[in-house]
């Protein structure tokens, strides 16, 4: 019964995530940029723009210029999460890809890095009065949600192990539309339930910064207004 519910939730959440984010990407893609608004100094070529964006995505270059604490915590969290997500690919692949197996141990440390990073961000949000001023309840809840997901995951690994073979069977079953039972352990149910919540709110929350980053005209435009006439849109009406 609960397994069926979770299976359904995952199908619904996956649909909402994919459909929601695709729709947003489509909107961002199609919305015109009437004017050249790149923030300079900026690359003058498209290759340069790709490199600039790569530095932003991988190194958080601008954030590094801005504030070392946010950068340290933010980078720890995001790259911890990336490794953790790669680690979790083993639940969806059979046989497990060699490079995923290779990253299993690192992925565990990454889980701690992720949790520490999130904790740092939460403490900043509470302690620094400027950041506290701009925070809505959802900003705290988002951090708490991610921390709870990380915490329940680490619990399963170190304190209350669950039957991960059964978990893998459940997810491989989902991929093949063949329903399999989940182990009825609290940590795994909490962990997966919160992941479902995260997937559902992704396209309607500030998590949109993930696709949004790639559509920010101040960064994605090349600085070539004199060389190449920018034609962004039909003349705007009133």
């Amino acid at each position: 019964m609960i397994s069926t519910l979770y299976a359904l939730l995952f199908y619904v959440a996956t649909f909402l995530l994919v459909a929601g984010v695709s729709q947003k990407i489509w909107i961002y893609w199609r919305t015109p940029s009437p004017l050249k608004v790149v923030v300079t100094p900026a690359p003058t070529t498209n290759t340069g723009v790709v490199l600039r964006m790569a530095r932003e995505v991988v190194l958080f270059e601008s954030l590094f210029k801005s504030n070392k604490w946010i950068w340290v915590f933010g980078w720890m969290f995001h790259f911890g999460l990336l490794l953790v997500l790669i680690r979790h690919l083993r639940y969806f692949t059979n046989p497990v890809w060699w490079w995923v197996s290779l990253l299993q141990t690192v992925g565990i440390y990454a889980g701690f890095a992720m949790f520490l990073g999130l904790t740092g961000l939460l403490i900043r949000r509470i302690v620094v009065n400027r950041v506290r001023y701009i925070s809505a309840p959802s900003d705290y809840l988002m951090l708490l949600l991610l921390m709870a997901i990380g915490f329940s995951g680490l619990m399963m690994r170190f304190v209350l192990p669950t039957d991960i073979v059964a978990v893998k069977t459940f997810f491989l079953g989902l991929l093949r539309f063949n329903l399999q039972p989940l182990p009825m352990d609290l940590p795994v149910l909490v962990h997966l339930g919160l992941v479902v919540v995260l997937m559902i709110i992704f396209p309607i929350s500030k998590l949109l910064h993930v696709p949004g980053l790639f559509f920010s005209p101040s960064r994605t435009q090349a600085d070539n207004a004199r060389e190449k006439r920018h034609v962004g849109a039909a003349p705007a009406g009133r």
């Binding site: 919305t31 210029k65 559509f215 101040s218």
Partner: protein, 526 residues
Amino acid sequence: MVELAIDNKISRTSIDDPTALPCMTPDAMVGSKPFLAAPDHNTKLGFPGELVDDWKEKAIARMGYLAETNKAFKVYLDTCVKCGACTDKCHYYMGSGDPKNMPVARQDLLRSVYRRYFTFAGKYFPKLVGAVDLTREVLDDWYSYYHQCSQCRRCSVFCPYGIDTAEISMAARDIMDHIGVGQKYCNEIIGKVMDVGNNLGLNAKALKATMEDLEEDLEDETGLEIRIPVDEHGADILLITPSADFFAEPHIDGLMGYAKVFHAAGASWTVSSYASEAANFGMFIGSEENTAVLCNRIRKAAEDLGVKRIIFGECGHAWRVAYNFLNTLAGPFDFLDQNYPIPQHILEYTWDLIERDQLTFDKSKNDEYRVTFHDSCNVSRASRMGDKPGGQFDIPRNVLKAVCNNYYDMPDETIREKTLCCGGGGGLLTDDLMDIRKKGSSPRMHALQQVERDFGVTHMVAICAICKTQFAKMMPEFGFDREAILSAHQLVSNAIVLEGQIDEDDDDDEDMEPEMNGASATGDGS
């Protein structure tokens, strides 16, 4: 007096760290509002004269329209994660301590309304995500705080997503204009350009007379016939310069500098009485339509006069519009000579001549100045000079170093791409906003005080009409001479050696050149 004493104390402690933050003081600047535009100022620009009855619906509709037609606006509203990276980067926050002057908080004044009407979370869980209804109080906050943003883009440099508060503040002003809430200073001035051709309302006859006076001054100074031609058909170069260059100090000394450079290069050039204004306040109010109207005056002037090139004088936001928008809004400029940048900046022109060894300078003429350079925000973060990224920082410095012996930079976190705004940009250069102007200029002035203390700097050079006017007002407030602000081409003008010129060093009593006063400023300042 008490206020002055307090300010001086702040100045002293902030000299070591110009970007230091004050205590957060909510609502400190809530009362700072510019004068409302009169109805005919608004209607002239195509906006309703005064607040319309169904203003809420109209404002929301305009917001929706902008979200659909402007990628930056849409993406910036969705993408912010409230990380706080920008919160300590705005000069108006550094100067006022009002938390609504933190860039993200300024954006949130509009974002919270956008969320309420356009997002799932804001429609159904407004409290959770900080979404609010559009009310009269919210509108008042918009009017107040979107006129405490100089659209300088400093926050955008530090944002992990490049969110540019300037875009949000332009959109907010556009929305307010569309419901009949316009700002007097900007809207009145745009109307003047449409009527007369420049921000000052200086007509063709007056302009010609002024230029003739300047030609006489130049002849008195040099003994040479140096021309400042107006409406000269068939000239090669059309100079578009801020109208402040025609009458205000130190701007006018810059204009005489351009004239001397053109003279030295043997160039054929002219200004236009129809497009006698580089400034384009259409950008400040976020109105693409009005920006385009002013841009097309420049195109028409260039076509009518039959010029081959367009060069822009020293002006910050004008250079942003010229460099980035002119081609889109008034181009393509097929009829101009494609061998030159379209448009070109006067500093690019002068630096090119210097590099090609076409100009002769006597640098010692500027020895009484120990100068630093204020990177104007729009030049720094919204344009370029030369072929390489960052040319907008190097070319002005190269020119200054070519014409004077004593050059020093201000602290790193206050120059180049991290430059601090003068405090008067973005349509705030009006007396009704003097308080926020002063607060906004304080980080820059503290940086200047630091190099005064450390290197004996006496003068600051700017390449923007707004910066120059703002600093001329602010200098005395921070213990400097009013004339401690200079035009870049003023220093070029001082040092340039023209073929056949008389040496004016000895017999120069009635000359209006600022060296005399500048010299006394040197004494006072250090």
